[in-house]
Symmetry: D2
Subunit: 449 residues, 4 copies
Amino acid sequence: MELTDEAWLRAMLVVEVALARAQADLGRCPRAAVRAIVAVAQAERFDVVRLARDARTAANPVVAFVGTFTELVGAEDPAAADYVHRGSTSQDILDSATMLICRKVFGMIADDLALVARALAVLANRHRNTLQAGRTLGQHAVPITFGLKVAGWLQLVLDALARVRSTMATLPAELGGAAGTLAAYAEYATLDGMSRQGLPLRGVELIAPFAAELGLAEPVFPWHATRTPIADVGATLQFVTGALGKVALDVQTLSRTEIGELSEPTAPGRGASSAMPHKRNPVLATLVVVAARQVPAHALVLAQSMLVEDERSAGAWHAEWQPLREALRLTGGATHTAVELVTGLGVHPDRMLANIRLTGADIVTERLNVALAPILGKVNAKRLLTEATLTAHTTGTDLAEVLRQHDQMAGLLTPAELRDLLDPARYVGAADVLVDRVLARAAEVGIHP
Amino acid sequence: MELTDEAWLRAMLVVEVALARAQADLGRCPRAAVRAIVAVAQAERFDVVRLARDARTAANPVVAFVGTFTELVGAEDPAAADYVHRGSTSQDILDSATMLICRKVFGMIADDLALVARALAVLANRHRNTLQAGRTLGQHAVPITFGLKVAGWLQLVLDALARVRSTMATLPAELGGAAGTLAAYAEYATLDGMSRQGLPLRGVELIAPFAAELGLAEPVFPWHATRTPIADVGATLQFVTGALGKVALDVQTLSRTEIGELSEPTAPGRGASSAMPHKRNPVLATLVVVAARQVPAHALVLAQSMLVEDERSAGAWHAEWQPLREALRLTGGATHTAVELVTGLGVHPDRMLANIRLTGADIVTERLNVALAPILGKVNAKRLLTEATLTAHTTGTDLAEVLRQHDQMAGLLTPAELRDLLDPARYVGAADVLVDRVLARAAEVGIHP
Amino acid sequence: MELTDEAWLRAMLVVEVALARAQADLGRCPRAAVRAIVAVAQAERFDVVRLARDARTAANPVVAFVGTFTELVGAEDPAAADYVHRGSTSQDILDSATMLICRKVFGMIADDLALVARALAVLANRHRNTLQAGRTLGQHAVPITFGLKVAGWLQLVLDALARVRSTMATLPAELGGAAGTLAAYAEYATLDGMSRQGLPLRGVELIAPFAAELGLAEPVFPWHATRTPIADVGATLQFVTGALGKVALDVQTLSRTEIGELSEPTAPGRGASSAMPHKRNPVLATLVVVAARQVPAHALVLAQSMLVEDERSAGAWHAEWQPLREALRLTGGATHTAVELVTGLGVHPDRMLANIRLTGADIVTERLNVALAPILGKVNAKRLLTEATLTAHTTGTDLAEVLRQHDQMAGLLTPAELRDLLDPARYVGAADVLVDRVLARAAEVGIHP
Amino acid sequence: MELTDEAWLRAMLVVEVALARAQADLGRCPRAAVRAIVAVAQAERFDVVRLARDARTAANPVVAFVGTFTELVGAEDPAAADYVHRGSTSQDILDSATMLICRKVFGMIADDLALVARALAVLANRHRNTLQAGRTLGQHAVPITFGLKVAGWLQLVLDALARVRSTMATLPAELGGAAGTLAAYAEYATLDGMSRQGLPLRGVELIAPFAAELGLAEPVFPWHATRTPIADVGATLQFVTGALGKVALDVQTLSRTEIGELSEPTAPGRGASSAMPHKRNPVLATLVVVAARQVPAHALVLAQSMLVEDERSAGAWHAEWQPLREALRLTGGATHTAVELVTGLGVHPDRMLANIRLTGADIVTERLNVALAPILGKVNAKRLLTEATLTAHTTGTDLAEVLRQHDQMAGLLTPAELRDLLDPARYVGAADVLVDRVLARAAEVGIHP
C-alpha cells in the first residue's frame, strides 16, 4: 500500500507539476519552466526524514517542501524557480495530493472488493441448498442455507463497492489560494498582462485544467474549510471495513472449535502459535476484524474535521492527516486480506448438518407453531410449544418425542406429517430466491458466480 | 420532533397494519381481519410505559407489544387475532417502524435544510462585495468577502441536502422472518392452500406490496444483520450536523465581543444570563454546535452496528436504537434552529471593515509578494517582506510606512501604485465568481436568492 | 434509576437550598429566608415540561428555573426572594446538581458491583477445579478451570469497583459565579456589611460550607471550564461497562447452542421470541453488552468536553448533559442486570468436559511440546507436533493415536506416561493459586465467597 | 519519542532477557544460557522490516521474532536455545514490552508536565493582578485576572500529572502462558525436577521476579483478556491531551488578530506561511490541539478493547497496538510542545486592558445588579439593567451614560460610588485567593513559581 511519507511527497510533486502545466496551458508559465519543474520533481532528490521533521515548524509539511523544491528548480534553471508553487498555498497542494492518494487506494480497494464479491457469488451459488442452522442471539433459531448467509455478505460487499466507486468519482482537486479567493493566482495572471478572450483574469479559469491534469473532479468551490471530501472518504472507508468485518466475524464464529462449519484457507505457518503446535488461528478473519474495530474511530475524527472555524482551521485540518492515512491503510489491508479469506474459505456442510441436528425439533418450532395454530388456535399452539420445549430441555428428551406423547397432540398429525414438519430441510423458506435476488444485483455490476 | 416512545408505538402499529394489508392483497388474510386490526391499531389503547418496562424481558419491545396487540384484536374479533403479526418476527416490525420514523424526520430535515440554503443564498448574493478579513489559524490572512464565506456555508448545506434526499429515497422496509428466510410467511401461505399463478409460495412475493404499503424502498435482501441502512442514516445525520456546525462555529467566532461582525437574531429573553443583565449569548449557534459535538459519537455506534455476528445479533441491534433516536433528535433540532439562526442573522459590514483595517498592510502581503517578485526576484521579495513585517510588528509601525522608507523599495513603485496594492478591496480575487458558482449549483435544485 | 428531568429539578432545588443554608451559616442570609426557600423547594410546584421547553431560550434550564423559583419564593415571603440563587450563576447550580446525581448513581453502581463481585467470588471458589477448555482466537488452546475464568471476571469487577469508589469520593461541588471569581458572592457579602473575623470577604469562604451541605468534595478551584470531574465520570462509567461487558460477552459465547457451558438464569417469559417457542435468548447478557457498546461513545464526548475555550464554553458544556445522563443510565442498568445474570448463572460442567474432549490431545500439545523438547530438542519437538496435529486434522485421526504410531515417538514414553501427559485435568497450571490471589484481593475489600 | 517498530523490538528483547533471568533466579535456567540470551539480545541483529512483514502470518509479531531469536541464540550456544521464550506465549512478551514502553513514555510525559506546571505557576503568580475580560459563550462576562485563568490551566495540568504518575505506578508485567494458567512455566519447572522449599511448582512464583526484573508492577492475575492496564493508559493519555488542549485552545483564542492578548513564543521560520510573509501562525498551540482532537478516538478503541471474549481475543488485542502507539506519540509530542508554548508565552496586559474597556460598563452589570438589588428590589434591578443595556447597545451609547441619565437612578448613587462600581479592577472577587489555592496544591507536589 502506497501510504508512506514518500508517497505523499511524490503526490505533492505531481500536484506542483500539474499546477505549472495548467498555468502553462493558459500561457502563464513558460514551457521551459515547466520542463525544469518536471525534471526536478523526483522524490529521490528530497530528504523525506528532514521534511517530516521541518513540518513541525509550520505545522504542515508543505512550507519546507516548497522551499526545497524552489531551490532545486532554481539550481536547474534560475528563471524557472519563480514559477514553482506560483500563486499557491500549502493547503492547495496537500489537499490535492491527499485526493490523489485516496483515488489510488480507492481504486485498489474497489478492485479487491470486486474479487471478494465474485468469490462470494460463487459460494452463494454453490451453497444455495447447503442446510445450516440460522442463529439469532447466539442460539439456533430456524434453518437457513449457507448460500443465504453468503448472499447477505455479498449484499453488503456490493453496497461497499458502490460507495467506493461513487466516492472515488467525486474526489476533487483543491485550488483556492491563501483564503479561498484564488487572488494570488489571478494576481500573477494580471501581472503577466495576460487575459483569455479579453475576459478579466480571476483565477477560477485555472481550476478546470488543474483538476484535469490530476484526473480529479473539478470542485465548485475551494474546500479548505468545507470538508465534504474528507468526511465522505472517512464514511466510505468505515462502511467498507464494517461490511468486511461482518463477514470476518461470521467466519470467526463459525470456525470456533465447537462449531467448525468454516475454516480459513491454510498456508504454511499461518495462524501458528508460539507455544501450541496444534493451533491454526483464524488470522485472516482476525486481521479484517482488527481493521473494523479501528476504522470507525478514524472516521469519527474525519467527520469532526467538518467542525472548523474561519477560512482555514487551527488544528482540525492537521488532525485529519494521520487518521486518514491509517484508515486508508487499514481498509486497503483488510480488503486485500478479505480476498484471500473468501477465495480459499473452507466450507464444511457435514458439520453444518451435524450442528443443526443438535437442536433436533427445536429448530422448527416456528414451523410447528404455524402448523398447529389453525388446529389449536394461535395462543394455544404457542403455549403448548413453549411448555413442550421447556419439558424437552428440562428432561433432556427430544422435543419430537415430547410432542408425540403429548395429550393435546393426539390424533392431530400423522407420523408422516410430523416427520415432514420436523425436517429442517423443508423449512428454508425463500432462501434460494433471495440468493438469486442478490446474484442478480451482482450481475448488474458485472459480477457473476 | 416525533421521537417519543409513543411515536415508535404508532409506527409499529402502522407496520402491523401494512403487513396485514399486504397479506390481504395476496389473499392471505381476510378483509374482516384487516378491518379489526386497523380498528385496534391506535396508540391510545396501549400503556406505553408498561410496554417500555416489559421490553427488558425480551430485550426488545416487540414481543410484549405483539402480545397486547393480539389480545386487543382478539377482543374485537377473535378470528382476526390469528392474523396479527402473522409469520413475522420482532425485527421485521421494529426495523420497518424505525425506517418510517427516519423517513419522516429526514423529510423535516430536508425541508429545513432547504430553508437554510435559501437564506444563505440570499446572504451570499447580498454580501458578494462586503469586504471582510480572511482568517487562517485564527490570524488575518488575505481579504475575502462575506459573500464568499457564506457561499462556502451554502456549498456545505447543499451537500447535506443532497445526502439527506439521497438516503431518504433508499430507506427500505424490513421483511425476513425469524432468520431472514421468510419461511413462516411462506408457511402460512402454503397452509392456506394459496398460490399465485400456480407458482410456489415463497414469501418473497410479500416484500414489494409490504414496502409499497409503507412507502418505503423494497429491499433486495432482509437486512437483519447487514446494517447498511442504519450506517447510512448515521453517516448522513453526522454530515448534516457537521455542515451546520461549521456555520454555527463561524457565527460564534465572528460574534465574539472583540470581533462583532455577526450577531444572532434577538428575541425577548433569548441568550439571557441568570446573573449578567447585559448578556446576549449566541444560543442558537450554541445549540447547533452542541448537536455537532454529539452526533458523530452516535454515528460511530451506528457504524459499529455493522459488525455483527449470525442472522441476528446479540447486542449490536439493540445498541442502535438509542443512538439513532438521539441522532435524529439532535439533527432535527439543529436544522430547525439553523433556520432561525441564518434567516435572522445580523451582519455588520462596518465592523468587518474596521477589523480588516486593524492589520493595515499585513492583510495584503501576499499581493505585495506577487508584485515585488518580478522586480526583486521571488526569494528576495519574500525575504524583504518577512523582514519588513517583523520590523512593523516589533516597532509598532504600520507596514505601509516601513515599506515606504525601505531602501530596497526606493523608486520601485509610485505612491499611487503602492496605495492601490495596499487596498484590500482590490485583492479579493475571484470571490464573486465563486459565489456565482455556488448560487448556480443551488439554482439547480430550485434554491434561489 | 433516578435520571429523569424531574430528578435534575430536585437536585437543583437541593443545591439552591444548600446555597442559602451555607450563606445563612456565614450570616449572609436570614434564617427566615432559608425557611421560605426550603418550603418552596418542592419539585411538584414546577412544570417540568415547560422548564425543559424554556431551556432552549437560554441554552440551559437554570435561567427559567431560577425565574420560577424566585417567583414562588416571593409569593411565600417577598423578602426571601432576594436570597434565591444569590450571587450565583447557572453553571454553579447545574454542575453541582449533576454531581449530586452522579454520586447517587455511583452509590447504586458500587452496591451492585459489590453484589456482582460476591457472586463471582462464590463461583470462582466453587469451580476452582471445574475443567474447561481455554480458548484463544476462538480455538481450543490449553485447559483452564471455569474458576480461573471467573477469577478473571472478578479481577475486572474489583478494578471497576475501586474506580467507582475512588471517583465517587472526589465528585466536587461547583461554586464560582459568572466567570469563576466568586465576585458576586463576595459583593453580596460586602454589601451586607458582613465580615468574618475581620478578614475581607472574598467568596471563597462559602465553598467549604456549601460543599459540606451537599456532601460533595470541596473543589480547589471552580471547574466551569476545567472539566476533570466530567472526564473522570465518563472514564469510570466506561470502565464499568467494559468490565461487565467482558463477563457478558463470555456468557453469550459460552451459552451458544453448540457450546452450552453456561446458561442464563431463567424467568417466566424472559428471552422469549415473538415467533419461536423454543427460544430462550440470553437477554441479560445482551442488555449488558448493549450498554458496553454505547457507553464508550458517550465517554468520548465527555472527554472531548475538556477541550473548551474561555471561562465557560459555547457548546461543550451543553453537549455534556445528554451523554452523561445516558452513560449513567446505561451503566446503572447494566450493573443491576449483571447482578441478576451472575447470581443465577447456570453452569454446566458436563458440557465443559464434553467440549474439552472434542479436541482430544490437541488441547495439551503445549504440554507435549514441553515434555518432548528435552528428549527431541525444542525445534524438533515442535516440528513433530506440528506435523502430527496436521496429520490428525487431515486424516480425522485422534492426535494421541497418531503419536502412538509415530516413528520418532517409539520407546520415548510409556503408555502410562503418555496417558498422564494427555490428561487435560493434569495441565491447568496454577489455576487454583490464581483464583486464590484474586479471592484474597476481594477479601481486602470485604468481599468473600 | 521512542515509538518505532525498533523500539518495540528492543523492548521485546528486554522482556525475553528478564524472563530468562527470572527463571535463572529460581534455578530453572543455566546462567550460561542467560549469558547467551543477553549476548544476542541486540536489536541490530534483527531485520525489523521483515519481522513486521512476517507478523501478518500469525497476526502478531512475536511468533516470527521468537523464531529468529531462538535461531540466533542457538547459533551462539545451541544448548541455550531451549531456554529462549521458555514456557511463554506471544502475549506475555508483547504485553510486557508494551508496558515497558508505556512506562518510559509516561516518564517523559510526567517530566514535561512538571515543566509545564512550573511555567504556569510562574505565570499565575506574576499575573495575579493582571486584569482581563472573563468570557463566557464568546462574550465578555465579568472581569477576571489573567492569573486566575492560568491557575485554572495549572489545576488541570496538576490533575493530568497526578493521573500520569498514578497510572505509571500500576503498569504491570504480563505473565500467564497460553491461556493464563502459567501451565507451561510450571511444566518446565516440574520437568527440571526443581521445587522450591518442597512446595509444588505452579508457575506463579515466577511472576514477582519477572516483574521485578522489568521494574513493572506485579500483576495479581494475567490480564490477557482483562484489559485494565490498556484502558487506563488510554484514559490517562486522553486526559493529558484534554488538559493541554484546553490551554492551547485558550492561547489560540486569545491570540486571534482582534484579541491579541497572548502570542506564541517566536522562533526563526516558525509559524510561517508558504504565501503570506506577515503570517506568524500559532503553530505550537495548533500542534497541541491537533493531538487533543485525535487522542480521544484512540482512547475509545482502547476502552473498547475491554470487550473481548475468551482467554485471548480474536481481534481486540490486535486492534490495541496502533491506537496505543499513536496515543503515546501524540501525547508525548503535545506535552513536549506545551513546555515550549507556555515557557515562552507572550502576555500582553495592555491588550487585555484595551479589550476589557471595549465593553465599558457592560462587564460589571452583574455588580451593578447586586448593588441596585437592595435599593430597587432584585427583580426591578435586573429589569432596569436589562433595559439599560439594550438601550446602550441599540443607541451606541455607553451604558454608564445611560445609567447616569436614567430616571430610576436619580439620586441613588453618588458619582464617586458609580465610578467605583463601574471599575472592573474592583470586581475580580477572589481571583487572587483562588490563584493561591492552586499554587498551594502545586507546592504539595514540589512545583513552585
